[in-house]
Each structure stands twice: as C-alpha cells, then as structure tokens.
C-alpha cells in the first residue's frame, strides 16, 4: 500500500505569524500514500500551523512543500483544497446553509460537477454518514456529534486524496468515536492518506501506526506510535503523559509480573492478564489438590 516516493514532502519549512510567534522551525517531513499518521504535542507546538500549510491557508516564510512531486507554494487554496481536505475542530465554523442537503451541496459546487452528479453524491454521502433522516433539517439544529459528522461529510464528499482531521475525537461519545474509527479505516482502504491531530493519547496509542511529536515549532519525534509513546524522554518533551496500558505495564514490571516488553495495546494487555489469571488460578487449584 505504501509506495517509496512520498506523497507529501515538507522541506526546511518555517513560518512566523505577523505577531512574531515562530510557529514552525525547519520542518522536514515525508508522508507516504495510504499512511495513517498522528500529530501530537502540547497547545502552541505548531500542529495546526503545520497542517494549514498543506492547503495554502498558511504560506511558509521559507522552505518548500511538495504534494505528488509538485511544489504547492504557488498553488491557490481553491486548487489545493481539492487535494487536501482539512476538517477543523469546530463544525460550527463552517455550517451555514438552510438544510443539511444544501450544506453538502455547497462543498460540491466548486468541483464543476453536473446537477445529476451533485445529487448522486449528496445521496451517497448522506446515506454513508447516516444523515439522510436530517436531510431537510437545519444544520444548526443538529447535536454536537451529528454536526461534526456533517462537517466531515462535507469534506469527504469532495473526495480529496489527503484527509486531515484536527482533533476529531474532541467532545465525541464512545459510539461517535467508533463511527470515526470505522470511517478512517474505510477511507484508508480506498488509498486515502490520513493525518490526525490529536491530544487523545489512548486513541493514538491504539489506532495510529505512526506519530509525529511536535514541541516549540520543531518535530521532536517521528516513528511508530507505540515506540514514541513508550519513550519517557519524548513524552516529557511533548508535555504528554504515558498511555494507561504503558503505565500499567510499568507498574507490573516493578512487581516483576510482566517481564516481556511487547505489550503495545489494550488487547495485548487483556490477553496477558487473561493468561496470567489463568496460570495463577490453575496453580491455586493444583496447590489445593
């Protein structure tokens, strides 16, 4: 699935806001087609600024960004938004139409599609996101979760190759997070590249294969999520805390209960504990005999 030539190449990129805040400093990054990648770090680390450079909302002061081997520095936001779809944190920053259907239509208008194609896409996307029942309702009367779904739908309907989510799990209940996880899996199967900014460590540890850690405008770590989040030094640098599974496994190591170091997910831990309890209980039974 992942090819050798990066889909996104960020080279020596730096950006300073007009008020003098240096948001990005010498950023170098490769992101490959079909990757699911997380960006983590404390507030003000430069995560949102970095993703804003991908569709031209921020033009770096220096450096270059290539998408599909093309330098995007001179491309318009309108052109880039067809390739890179950014779904922002607050859905109420974009919902404005009279009905849910019109909200989706607005996103499709700039793609030069025929009326029939637009209608077909609207039907498909509303069905896919289970929003058909709200078709004629005002987007402003939807619940928090439904409005977030609509905001995501209004970007995914444009079929961009790269999907960028800013804090997708924020304020979402368990079912909504599950829906989101299914959605990113389906989009990945279609070959989409997905970038997720998140503060949700448990979510990242469980579902994101690769993570970039940022601090003070720099990338301080880039690699498999489990490796990065097991690294106490990097965790400290990025102002994060260790995932619960990691904390539990460290506590167990101190009790000499868990010698091996290959517990990297909730399921690993559940299996380990199950086996441990089984072996202990069979030992108790043997002792009783």
């Amino acid at each position: 699935m992942i090819n050798d030539v990066p889909l996104i190449m960020i080279r020596e990129v730096g950006y300073e806001y007009p008020n003098g805040t240096k948001a990005l400093k010498n950023i170098n990054l490769n992101i490959f087609k079909g990757e699911l990648i997380g960006i983590m770090g404390k507030n003000g680390a430069g995560k949102t600024s970095l993703i804003r450079t991908l569709n031209g909302l921020i033009r770096p002061n220096y450096g270059n960004i290539y998408i599909q081997n093309e330098n995007i520095m001179t491309k318009s936001i309108a052109t880039l938004s067809k390739m890179v779809g950014i779904i922002f944190q607050n859905p109420f920053h974009q919902l404005f139409a009279n009905t849910v259907e019109e909200e989706i239509k607005f996103s499709l208008k700039s793609l030069n599609l025929s009326k029939e194609e637009i209608q077909k896409k609207i039907d498909e996307i509303l069905f896919k996101f289970d929003l058909n029942k709200y078709r004629t309702r005002s987007p402003l009367n939807l619940s928090g979760g439904e409005s977030k779904k609509l905001a995501v739908a209004s970007i995914i309907c444009r079929d961009p190759k790269i999907l960028v989510f800013d804090e997708p799990t924020l304020g979402q209940d368990a079912k909504e997070i599950e829906f989101f996880i299914n959605l990113i899996n389906k989009e990945r199967e279609k070959g989409k590249t997905i970038i997720i900014i998140t503060h949700n460590i448990e979510f990242a540890y469980e579902y994101l294969p690769r993570t970039i850690l940022m601090a003070d405008g720099h990338i301080i770590g880039d690699g498999p999520t489990n490796q990065l989040l097991n690294n106490e030094f990097l965790i400290e640098q990025a102002s994060l805390i260790s995932p619960q599974v990691r904390q539990l496994s460290l506590a167990m190591q101190q009790l000499s209960l868990q010698p091996q170091n290959d517990i990297n997910s909730k399921n690993d831990m559940i299996n380990y504990l199950r086996n441990l309890i089984k072996s202990k209980s069979s030992k108790i039974q043997e002792d009783n005999f």
Partner: protein, 255 residues
C-alpha cells in the same frame, strides 16, 4: 484575505504617556477630535488637525497599529473619493477622507491605549449603570476574539472550496453568507454562554459594588484635559472667524 485590520483596535499593554493617562481624558480626546473634524469642510484645516494627531500616536508608541487602521480604510476611502468626486468635487472628497482619518485615528488611539477594565471603571465614574459599563467593556474585549473566529471560519470554508473573490455585486454579497452566518450564530451562542457564566457567578446580585481597582484623575490628566479644551476653543474660534482668516486656510482644488 486577512482580518488583521481589526487588531488595530486591540489594546496592548505597554508603558507610554498615553497609556498612563486616565481613560476619561482619552475619551475626551476622541470626542474633541470628532467634533473638530465635523466643524470643517476645508482641506487645509482638516489636514492640520490630522497632523496634530501624529505626535499623540508617537507618544503612545502605537504607530504600527495606527498605520494598520489607516490602511484598513483603503476600500472605504476609495468609495468616498469616487462617490464624492462624482456628485460634488474632488476637494470635498479629500476633505471627507481627512475627516474619516481623523475620527478613526482618534478612536484608534482610544481603543489601543485604554485597558478594557479601566474603560468600565471610567464609564461607571461617569454615573453609567454598572451593567451597561460592563457590557460595553465586554463588547470591546471581544473584538479580537471575533476577528480570530472570523479568520477560522474563512479557513474552514476555504478548505472546502470557498472562494472570496466573485464577479458581480450580487454574487459578492451572496458570497458573504458562508462567513457571516457562522460568525453571527457563534457570537449569539457565545453571548448566551457568557451570560450563563456571569449569572453563575452571581452577576448583578447586589446593586452596590466595590471595586478592586480604582482610577484617579491626576495632574497630567488635568493638564491634558486643559490642552484639549484650549484646542477645542481655538479651533471653534478659527471656524467662526474662517472668513477673516488667511486665504490659504480655505484653499480648495479647482475640481
């Protein structure tokens, strides 16, 4: 598109002669300059009045932000010049532009150098009910927040193919809906949240209040007020006697 222009009215804490003045003295400055700008329709007096604001801008160390507010008026200025030249004359158009610059500069100086908390206190000291004074300072405090939100809305809409520039006046007006509707709705929602937050902290439970900070009219405020009143009297005198003043004061362009 950048909405940086709104930042030209955002208070920034720093030490300067203007920042140290009492907010009431600065409010008087804005009022006096607005009044004297309205007294004239001749270019030369308005130009001198405008020039007299520049030392104040320098004293307040707010030159950069002031320039931004002036630059932010470009579109309006163009509109004023075209309409007034079309219907009246270029001289009148330039006078109107100077008038706008004076008023915006005077209020820009006020907003850039007055802390929103002091503003509420000064309004209360002018016997305005606390609720009104507080609402006013709250509105003032939310200007940069709304500017920031407007930028976020613009970013979110551009991320799904929205384009600012469209041909034709009707299309341009229609094109503002995706920005204005979320902005208005979020502002109304925020107003409710703020009201709830205030009520949960017993806002308005007692009529009589005490204040943590107090403001006092000091000697430099009295001197500044005196200067403003002398300026106002002098300008009114010139306005009344304008016909007996040197000719250059009433000079106007031939068109």
């Amino acid at each position: 598109m950048s909405l940086e222009f709104l930042n030209a009215f955002k208070f920034m804490k720093q030490k300067s002669f203007l920042h140290n003045l009492d907010p009431r003295a600065k409010l008087l400055l804005s009022v006096v300059y607005t009044v004297i700008a309205l007294l004239f329709i001749q270019i030369i007096p308005l130009f001198f009045i405008f020039l007299s604001l520049i030392p104040l801008v320098l004293l307040g160390k707010i030159f950069k932000q002031w320039i931004k507010s002036i630059r932010g008026l470009s579109f309006l200025v163009l509109f004023i010049i075209i309409l007034n030249t079309w219907f009246i004359s270029l001289s009148f158009a330039l006078a109107m532009v100077l008038r706008i610059y004076i008023m915006v500069s005077a209020f820009s100086i006020f907003f850039l150098t007055v802390d929103p908390n002091d503003l509420a206190l000064s309004l209360i000291s002018m016997k305005l009910p606390y609720e009104f004074a507080f609402s006013f300072s709250l509105a003032f405090r939310f200007v940069p927040t709304i500017a920031n939100e407007a930028q976020n809305i613009l970013d979110a809409q551009q991320s799904r193919g929205y384009e600012m520039q469209k041909k034709g006046l009707i299309n341009q007006v229609k094109n503002l809906f995706p920005l204005l509707i979320p902005l208005i709705i979020n502002s109304i929602k925020r107003a409710f949240y703020v009201a709830e937050a205030l009520e949960s902290r017993a806002f308005g439970s007692r009529k009589e209040r005490t204040y943590y900070y107090s403001i006092k009219y000091s000697l430099k405020d009295y001197i500044f007020t005196f200067y403003l009143l002398v300026l106002l009297t002098f300008i009114i005198f010139i306005r009344v006697q304008i016909n007996s003043m040197p000719d250059f004061l009433i000079w106007s362009l031939p068109v």
